[in-house]
């Protein structure tokens, strides 16, 4: 790979007494990339993020962050920032005071350290003087992101940064993360929201029961997916039903299942068969008003991979 790696993990295992939190994990994250981490609860995402932040040490394996190999003692290279299990904020301090205290901790004057700038980036300028005690979860997430930005990180590690965000807040956070990646900062984030990962990440790693079940580009993940279900809304549902039935390798999902309306069909098939179905509908003069996946390709792949892993144990 030509692009330098911000994170290189090989054979990482981490145990908590008899619980195997991570089992022989290997991950590469290219510099300047937004890399997603997905997996069901208890899959080991937070543990892996904790290792990246230097909060814990792997029991086995090697971990290299920003080109620096980490040993068996608690450490992290300079330039790593972020949070796991929610941002760490002090409710008795205002948003500005939280960031100012952090700036002073790093030996910087809050007035010149960019406190106002990062508050502006995450859209919290108006509430800078308010105590964090009264903040919503979404506001806390944005303030946590601001705290991480304050240190001008080269690797930003975020655990569920979209939790509690409203659509406007989510858009703001996405903009900030894209801008960071464009400027060369590597971002590793975990999320349960597949739409967030699809919107943000070039590559994802999927963990299940402490093991990596997939790591690579989103396009590759979608291509590896099994049959997908698509919602089909047309100008003539009865004719569309006939066309779908006549198309090879296209299945119709149980008619008894609940539907948004009688004019909607749910069809199942691989991408080539679905392409053929669309072509036939057009040739038959049937207008296609909606053709969308019931579950996103990433989510479908996620469910397939994690279910396979869990059933295999």
């Amino acid at each position: 790979m030509d692009t330098p790696l911000a994170v290189r993990a090989r054979g990482i295992s981490k145990y908590f007494d008899e619980v195997v939190a991570l089992d022989d994990v290997a991950v590469d994250v290219a510099a300047g990339q937004i890399h997603g981490l997905a997996g069901p609860n208890g899959a080991g995402k937070t543990t892996l993020l904790g290792l990246l932040l230097g909060l814990a040490v792997a029991d086995e394996g090697s971990l290299e962050i920003l080109g620096t190999p980490l040993g068996r003692t608690l450490a992290a290279p300079g330039g790593v920032a972020g949070f796991v299990d929610g941002p760490g904020l002090y409710p008795s301090l205002t948003a500005w005071q939280n960031l100012a205290a952090l700036a002073r901790l790093h030996g910087r004057d809050p007035r010149t350290a960019g406190v106002d700038d990062v508050l502006d980036q995450v859209g919290l300028t108006d509430v800078a003087g308010d105590r964090v005690r009264g903040f919503s979860l979404g506001m806390r997430q944005r303030l946590g992101l601001a705290a991480a930005l304050l240190t001008e990180p080269r690797l930003l590690v975020l655990d569920e940064p979209a939790n509690g965000l409203d659509p406007a807040g989510k858009k703001l956070v996405h903009t900030v993360l894209h801008r960071l990646a464009e400027s060369g900062t590597t971002v590793v984030l975990s999320s349960h929201r597949m739409d967030d990962l699809e919107a943000l990440c070039a590559e994802v790693t999927i963990l299940a029961t402490g093991r990596v079940v997939f790591s690579g580009p989103l396009t590759k993940l979608a291509a590896e997916s099994s049959e997908l279900e698509y919602r089909l809304r047309t100008s003539d549902p009865a004719a569309a039903h006939q066309v779908a039935t006549a198309t090879a390798k296209i299945g119709l999902v149980d008619d008894a299942a609940p539907r948004p309306g009688p004019e909607v069909l749910v069809v199942r098939g691989h991408p080539p068969a679905l392409d053929e179905l669309l072509a036939r509908l057009v040739r038959a003069g049937i207008s296609v008003r909606e053709f969308a996946p019931v579950v996103s390709p990433l989510e479908a792949a996620f469910l397939t991979l994690t279910e396979q892993q869990e059933s295999g144990r």
Partner: protein, 445 residues
């Protein structure tokens, strides 16, 4: 793109960060305000009343001199306020991060558990010192402003000049810092081991209450001195002549040992904690065992050393020591009464006061605490052949303190007031506080 390992934040900055967080809490701000204002208000109010807290040491002197007030406050603080303050400050300094879920953030920001521990311990210490200093300064200011800087009668009745009284009051407050810091360290230990559990916050108060109850039991002197709480009592020895320094030094040393041991245990438990393991709360019980057992071991060793170094396995309250103490106090206070009544001065040597004490009407051995002590004091006046006698009923508590209650004759110690040229004033011989030195190390003054 190789990066170097992040260097930990300097300890001074981490300390400042902890102070900012501590002082941002309303609870701490209110405590600081209360400690710097409430004692002065309380002392000024009580000192101006005719009904004084005579059941508290030095309480009966509160409207005679302003230097009694900080000692009354010190007696109260040692029992209740100081353990409670250490609970609220030191007991919460680590647990607050568990409650807020900010440990990981703090570790990422500071990059050193050791420096976090040092910063938190120092910030807690600073907070406690500010509160204790507030109580001392406020009660001194309240007493001196309300009553004035006048001589103070010590526990053996001798008069301390205002300058001496001031120095000893300050020294007494300094001495109780040792057990206070021991409780602060126990608070740190509880906070580290028990996390967000309320038990962590309450640990110093619970330990202080248990030790205060133990001090009320007829324990051997070695056990009593080995408990860090004895310094809350032993400062009384500064107010006798000569000062009873043996028990005071031992109890201060014991308090400092507890402080070092509890802080070291808290440190060891803290730096071994895995902050990515959500099962930490489950480990708390084991950590508590690891914290509590060594302290119990320290107590046992301290008791052994004191018992070996001093003949201190009895109650320490014996007939001859009590007789010396009562006679000495009577001699000093008689001079005070003589001055009040405008009679010719007489020295303690001329009075040659002696006391003969019995316990339980001589039906029981004359040792140990109890309210069944009875002492007959005898003295001589120059130029008069007859020997004066006065009777006292004594209530002696296991820690060596006693209240001597005058039982006549009325002209000497049987009435609570004496008639003077300027009006009726409290009779110093009617009731007085004293103490028996539990260790027989200080010679009679």
């Amino acid at each position: 793109m190789t990066a170097t390992i992040a260097r930990p934040v300097p300890a001074a900055r981490a300390y400042r960060f902890e102070l900012v967080k501590l002082l941002a809490q309303w609870r701490i701000r209110l405590l600081v305000l209360a400690c710097w204002i409430a004692p002065a208000v309380f002392v000024a109010a009580v000192s101006s009343q005719s009904s004084l807290p005579v059941d508290t040491l030095f309480g009966r002197w509160m409207n005679a001199t302003g230097w009694a007030a900080p000692l009354v406050m010190l007696g109260f603080a040692g029992t209740y306020a100081l353990p409670l303050l250490t609970s609220l400050v030191a007991g919460d300094v680590f647990a607050a991060e568990d409650r807020l879920g900010t440990w990981r953030h703090l570790l990422v920001a500071v990059r050193s558990p050791r420096r976090i521990f040092a910063a938190k311990a120092l910030a807690g210490l600073t907070g406690i010192l500010v509160l204790v200093a507030g109580m001392a300064v406020s009660s001194i200011a309240g007493g001196v402003l309300a009553v004035g800087s006048r001589p103070l009668a010590g526990l053996d009745g001798h008069l301390l000049t205002p300058a001496d009284a001031a120095a000893k009051v300050l020294l007494a407050w300094l001495c109780v810092l040792a057990p206070t810091l021991a409780f602060a360290a126990i608070g740190l230990l509880g906070s580290v081991t028990l996390g967000r559990s309320p038990m962590g916050l309450l640990l110093p108060v619970i330990v202080a209450l248990v030790m205060a109850l133990a001090q009320m039991l007829p324990l051997p002197v070695a056990v009593r001195l080995a408990l860090p709480t004895y310094a809350f009592i032993a400062w009384n020895g500064l107010f006798t002549s000569p000062a009873q320094l043996g028990p005071l030094l031992i109890s201060v040393g014991s308090g400092l040992l507890w402080m070092v041991a509890a802080t070291a245990l808290a440190y060891l438990i803290f730096v071994r904690r895995d902050f990515t393991n959500s099962g930490h709360d489950g480990l708390a019980r084991r950590a508590l065992t690891a914290g509590a057992l060594p302290l119990a071991g320290l107590l046992a060793v301290t008791i052994g050393v004191i018992a070996t170094a001093t003949p201190a396995m009895g109650s320490g309250i014996e007939k001859d020591k009590l007789e010396r103490s009562v006679a000495t106090a009577f001699g000093h206070l008689y001079r005070l009464q003589t001055a009040q009544l405008n009679r010719p001065d007489v020295t303690e040597a001329q009075l040659a006061a002696t006391a003969a004490c019995t316990k339980g009407d001589s039906l029981v051995a004359a040792v140990g605490p109890g309210n069944d002590w009875r002492c007959v004091v005898s003295w001589h006046l120059p130029g008069i052949d007859a020997t004066g006698t006065a009777i006292y009923q004594l209530d002696v508590t296991p820690d060596g303190r006693y209240v001597a209650d005058g039982d006549g004759p009325k002209e000497v110690n049987g009435y609570f007031q004496v008639h003077t040229l300027t009006g009726d004033v409290p009779n110093p011989l009617w009731q007085f506080d004293g103490n028996v030195e539990l260790l027989a190390t200080t010679t009679k003054g």
